[in-house]
Symmetry: C2
Subunit: 506 residues, 2 copies
């Protein structure tokens, strides 16, 4: 449909997907690399998106009784060491604070001084430090459940980083709960997974598969890890939220005990669950096209930009007045219980201005020129349609219609993404077909192939490792909604009782 040179982003997704990803972020002003290795700067257009995501999640958390709190950034090394698998999982990527001041060094420059007795790790996650508080807050079954969430920054030192997807510092929420029984903790684990799925599907317009992780992909120290998995436009999977049933492992490590109704001392059952700015990377790769990102209306940094068009100061004064009044009226319209978010861009940069907003992915572009004023109309472009596919609408009709149009865009984005996932999801039962699916050069274009394969797996870590070694393909999850089914492992041919989702992944 599009010829080369007609797109705003170069390269296109087909030409070079990873580079398209970098360019589309740059063109949108969402975020940028910083001078600090592996750390990003989230620019206002990206942070507004994050604020809307936080708002949606926070309200869903609170509706289930979760309360926010805040725990220290630093974790004493000895705390991290309390859970053996846990520390092993994070030791290779920890930023370590060793000194607490700077002083003049021998060559005149400043050097670290004031060596700490015990090094402090910048939190990669907070199970151990929050567990320490829980051990003090909980003494009786009457104190349970405790349902806590924290909005925070965390650091996992990464050698190869990519904005939003993998950065040394990222923003996230981490929930931590403690319960009197395993059943209740598992129920909470799955409830929070449901909330992540709702966030993805209803707000980010990203269809997801909910499932259980295989043992090798579990959170370090967890008994069970659940995730939501979404397909990007290069057919790779992105894990967009995880929820962990921690059993009594962390309760034992942190001494979280309670007296049960029979006055016996027991370890509590805990959970943790997190989602991060990584979801923004998923949103970009799910909806973006060769003209830039596309923001789903429910979380869009702004819903509409008003673009006054004028050729003289007199015309400018007229259209600016019209635009200002229109903006105020639109801001009184409520969309899903909040005011519409409206911007006016009065720059006189012509077509470049229009393209800026296409690249930024705003759902609605509303052009207002002298002729529109005469006709009491607006000229509307939608980001889910072609760039020149615009319509003239009467002003009053437009104001009334905005929520419906936004919901229609939201629905279109979701359905497009779902259709894409369906097109590249396959049920495979023969090993050759499986290998061909993930390696075929007959795909068009050749670098885009594969997708999600629903295949049988016997449960052996050897089979899982072999497929990962051979193809770079991992078990994304064991879907929750799939019933038991007898079959043969796609790798070894041994008996299997369930299908799992295989895919390449971020």
């Amino acid at each position: 449909m599009k010829k080369r040179g007609e797109t705003a982003i170069s390269p296109t997704r087909e030409e070079d997907y990873p580079e398209w990803y970098q360019q589309v972020i740059k063109a949108s002003d969402l975020a940028e690399r910083s001078a600090v290795r592996g750390c990003m700067v989230i620019r206002p257009w990206g942070y507004a998106l994050w604020e809307n995501i936080m708002g949606a999640l926070d309200a869903m958390f609170k509706a289930t009784g979760v309360q926010n709190a805040y725990f220290p950034l630093f974790i004493p090394l000895s705390f991290l060491e309390k859970e053996a698998e846990h520390v092993e999982g994070f030791a290779k990527e920890c930023a370590v604070v060793t000194h607490h001041r700077l002083e003049k060094g021998p060559d005149g420059g400043l050097v670290p001084a004031g060596l700490l007795q015990e090094p402090l790790v910048v939190r990669p996650t907070s199970e151990t430090i929050i567990g320490d508080s829980f051990s003090r807050w909980i003494s009786s079954y009457r104190d349970l459940p405790i349902l806590i969430n924290q909005w925070a920054n965390v650091v996992r030192w990464e050698l190869r980083t990519r904005i939003f997807l993998r950065t040394s510092e990222f923003l996230w929420q981490e929930g931590h709960t403690a319960h009197a029984s395993a059943e209740e903790a598992i129920e909470r684990t799955l409830l929070m997974l449901d909330i992540y799925a709702r966030l993805a599907e209803e707000y980010l317009a990203m269809p997801v598969i909910k499932g259980r992780k295989s043992a090798s992909e579990r959170f370090p120290g967890a008994v069970d890890t659940f995730s939501i998995e979404s397909m990007m436009q290069d057919r790779k999977a992105l894990q967009a939220g995880t929820s962990h049933f921690l059993g009594q492992n962390f309760a034992r490590a942190s001494g979280i005990t309670f007296q049960n109704a029979e006055e016996k001392e027991e370890y509590a059952w805990t959970t943790s669950w997190g989602s991060s700015t990584r979801m923004i990377g998923g949103l970009i790769m799910t909806h973006g096209d060769d003209n830039g990102i596309i923001l789903p209306p429910r979380v869009a940094s702004a819903h509409a930009v008003l673009l006054p068009i004028y050729r003289s100061d007199k015309e400018k004064a007229e259209v600016m007045t019209y635009a200002g009044n229109l903006a105020r009226e639109l801001q009184d319209v409520r969309y899903h219980d909040a005011p519409l978010r409206i911007q006016i861009d009065a720059r006189d940069t012509g077509g470049a201005r229009n393209w800026d907003w296409i690249k930024k992915g705003i759902p609605l572009r509303v052009e207002i020129g002298p002729r529109d004023i005469t006709q009491n109309a607006v000229y509307l472009g939608r980001r889910d349609k072609g760039n020149t596919d615009k319509v003239s609408l009467k002003r009053e009709a437009f104001i009334g219609e905005v929520p419906r149009i936004l919901d229609e865009i939201q629905k279109n984005l979701y359905e497009r993404a779902l259709a894409y996932r369906k097109a590249y999801t396959i049920t495979l039962d023969d090993r050759d077909g499986f290998y061909a699916f993930f390696t075929s050069k007959n795909a068009d274009p050749p670098e885009i192939h594969g997708g999600f394969a629903f295949s049988h797996w016997c449960g052996s870590q050897d089979c899982e490792a072999k497929i990962k070694d051979d193809l770079g393909v991992t078990i994304r999850c064991i879907p929750l909604d799939a019933g038991p089914e007898n079959g043969s492992c796609i790798c070894c041919g041994n008996a299997s009782t369930e299908r799992v989702v295989f895919a390449k992944a971020y």
Copy 2:
């Protein structure tokens, strides 16, 4: 008025103010010390308060065009060194990251490994790292002004810490703006000071004095620092928000230049302004009494708690239904454009339950017993009145009256605090009187004396230092609303043109 033993908090404010502060926080469940030296845990009751403060500030910022963004936690040492006064101001209290992983040490335990080429400082404030972004974002006068705010954690390593008032890690917002002229930057500096004053007075019910800092109390690297100063109940001053005009100092350090309308290259004029969880300490010390904290309704973690009273399971079922229905109706009432925040506490712990909520400072306690149901009434206690000073109100009247009652409490708290400040504010023109005011043992009780002294100061740093050495008293600010006035310096007797506020301070 009160006899010993009748208060919920021991010691009382009069007996030991610093210890009262620690105990009142403990009794309220606002926050606690953590296992990490100098870092606090903000518990749900305290974090909800912080969320309301953030919400109020954030809305005021955005109404003036400020946008939120997020910048890296880590600052390369070389960045901090770019501004000489700045680095000197923070070098003694920097947490320094020197390693990026952990590995097994000789004795089997983990030790820091992976030495960084350049140490990273955990941000004590972000002028230099944000300046780096500004230097890339700004090229023309058309890009200005840039108005950015960040909600973040910062670290300033403190040897002596006190929850909320002085902790090694704290939560804050830091605003950073860049402008094309000094005038516009100064205007922004003062506008943000006004917003801090509005937050303090309208939301926290804390009367403040807005003023300019003396040179010795300026932010390291600033041309001018402004603050709001509030009086605590031990008559010491608390600085609750600062706004800095940075001139071109940081623009020069970070290379923030722009082409002006005449196509000449110029350094931008920048500002920064911050307020933090320290305000919660101020709120506690302004309003708290010997029974606990008192939360101003505009920011209270919750507005009302419903306390069902019952003596049998049958009664419990009845009062719980009545309370549940009442809670739902109250949640539909709007108070300053947001729903009322209502809790139900169904524990059967009798009087202890009532005292818990008094100590937590909730504005309204609503008792509901079988007799109240019969009379279609509630039994209301207010935190700004005596603990036994309760009234019976008809249910419907109560629901309709809640916003008015909350506003009345808000006003009472503000007026009490203002009356307190006025009672301990004095205009002093003689040196002996000044020294007596800050040292008198004739005060009743002797350990509480002094307050705010409005006195003349010649502007000499020697006089400022002498008063600090002699009395531990500093110049809190040079009030903005005081006109010029001729007089003699309270210290040296030389000519002075203005009065300043002297006080002991946190």
